[in-house]
Amino acid sequence: MTTYLKLAWRNIWRNRRRTLITVSAIVFAVLAAIVMQSMNRGSYEVMIDRMVSFTTGYLQIQDYRYDDETSLDNAFFYDEALREQVLAADSRIVRVVPRLETFMLAANDVSTRGSLVFGIDPDKEEAFNQISSYLVEGRFPGADEHMVVLGSGLADRLQLGVGDTLALIGQGRFGMSASGLFEITGLIEHPIRDMNNSVVFLPIRPAQELLSAEDHITGLLISIGQARQTNAVAAAVRQALDDDELMVFTWPELMPELLELMEMDLAVPRLLTLVLYVVIGFGFFGTVLTMTMERLREFGVLLSVGMKRAHLCGVLLVETLIISVMAVTAGILLSWGLLKLIDPIALSGDAAQAVEDMGFDPVIPMSFAPDQFFIQGLYVFLIALVVFLFPLVKILRLNILEAARS
């Protein structure tokens, strides 16, 4: 085995320049693919994190009817026992955040606007999405205070500010009338523009009283360590819940349009990566083809003196894999270093303003998700295996005498 490895290793360096060019080409492809993917995924990870923390959560428990009919009538009973049960379902669950959500009319003394009202637990919400960091004025009310925080867009439209009174008018659970006056304690610049123009936060207990929904919530958001754990944790929670009326949804199920948008957006980088690998694949193939054809006579001699075809194929496979391993390792290390160096890329000018307008920081963050590194390595190994088919077929069909004459 050592001799075969030695033979493969030395064969690779028979033509040092050619090997280095091939390795460099693969390194470049791996580097370009990883950086491209890292930039895209970095942006998407921030976007997803932002979206799920302010809207659905990575996972959300709802009454089974709520998804079809978004009504307070389909809120569900929530108490400490349920909270403990969910937290115990999987160790990867970081926290659970209850919300009571409904549409109401928000009014000042002369005008009315449609609004999205969230009854929240201010402390849990803060831990979940650091919502207070978006306050532009005032503060969040305490858990039992009958006070509200408005999106700054909605406040502008209603020409209200901190200290003013907001009237909320709507329908509570099971058709009960719901209306109340609330002092505005703060204004936030909500990172999602549509929500900034419509959102009203109030503590969950006053919200439950207002909406005749004591001890009820419309959604229990589940926060987990990493987005890629979503499905596994969802399965664990489903198994732990012994209530047929409660369902566990993942964020792609709750926001399929976001996932589709991202998939569409990723199509171009994926196509570019594919083209890159096809080009590199042909370069790799060219090297292996040359390495094979220029050694046909040698192969003929090796078979003549008693080397088995399978062992000769093994040596060539090892040569192909060594080139791949060198290139992939170098590509991953270089891309890791480069990503560390450039993370995050700060935007400036109009681009920065446009991103800020969408509620994001004006930077392009890099993703360091391990799978993007391994997957690029896997692609190169797959290419190596495809490329290896040529020497494999050549050796299995090699006529010793013709090879010796070549």
Partner: protein, 238 residues
């Protein structure tokens, strides 16, 4: 010169060997009904003009090619009907090859080229090392073990090739034009080594050659013309 054979044990036997290339298009009869026996300890040259069939016969005996008709026996094992894998294994343990162009593995040193054959035979490390050392000393290259083929002269490379051919302790060695690319001094030196091994260790050598220097040193000379044996004679050495 006589045509008598004085050997004890037959190593190579061919029966009515024929080889036709391109049988369906333009048939070329490379061998026609060749039957020979080569005994242990012979030092035999196959001679003849280009296209006479000597290399084809050598390839048949070496199990590198299959006859169109006829049979090849090595030590009573018929190799002409063996499958590819079995023939490779048979060659590894029974036949040594020396090629016109040396055909050493360029990335291996002289010692590694010799040791490689024994590694294929799964011999233990110590035995491989000792035998490699011994063989290279026998061919006069004890001090060039770590040299790669490119660092050796043609004559030295061919001597490494002889050591490699002997490494597997084969029944006999087939040498295809072994001196064709060597100058007179290197050729005579190589022949001295092979002759010495033949006399002292009773190793059987079969050459295909045009080289009169080889023919003069052979004890048996088989002359081929148009794929058939035209003469088979034993020479007495002075």
């Amino acid at each position: 010169m006589t045509s008598a054979k004085t050997s004890v044990m037959t190593i190579v036997r061919t029966e009515s060997l024929s080889r036709v290339y391109n049988p369906d298009t333009v048939p070329v009869h490379a061998l026609r009904d060749v039957s020979i026996e080569i005994d242990e300890g012979e030092f035999t040259a196959l001679r003849g003009p280009s296209g006479s069939g000597k290399t084809t016969l050598l390839n048949m005996i070496g199990g590198l090619d299959k006859p169109t008709e006829g049979k090849v026996f090595i030590n009573d094992h018929e190799i002409s009907n063996m499958k590819d894998g079995a023939r490779i294994d048979f060659r590894l343990h029974n036949i040594g090859f020396v090629f016109q162009h040396y055909n050493l593995i360029p990335v291996f040193t002289a010692a590694e080229n010799v040791a490689f054959i024994m590694m294929l035979q799964h011999r233990n490390k110590r035995e491989i090392q000792e035998r490699t050392d011994k063989l290279l000393r026998q061919v006069g290259l004890g001090d060039r073990q770590d040299a790669r083929p490119a660092q050796l002269s043609g004559g030295q490379q061919q001597r490494v090739a002889v050591a490699r051919a002997l490494a597997s302790e084969p029944r006999f060695i087939l040498a295809d034009e072994p001196t064709a690319n060597l100058d007179t001094e290197a050729a005579m030196n190589l022949l001295d080594i092979m002759e010495k091994m033949n006399r002292e260790q009773n190793i059987t050598f079969v050459f295909s050659t045009h080289d009169q220097r080889v023919i003069d040193r052979a004890r048996r000379v088989i002359t081929m013309v148009d794929g058939a044996i035209s003469q088979d004679e034993t020479q007495h050495q002075s």
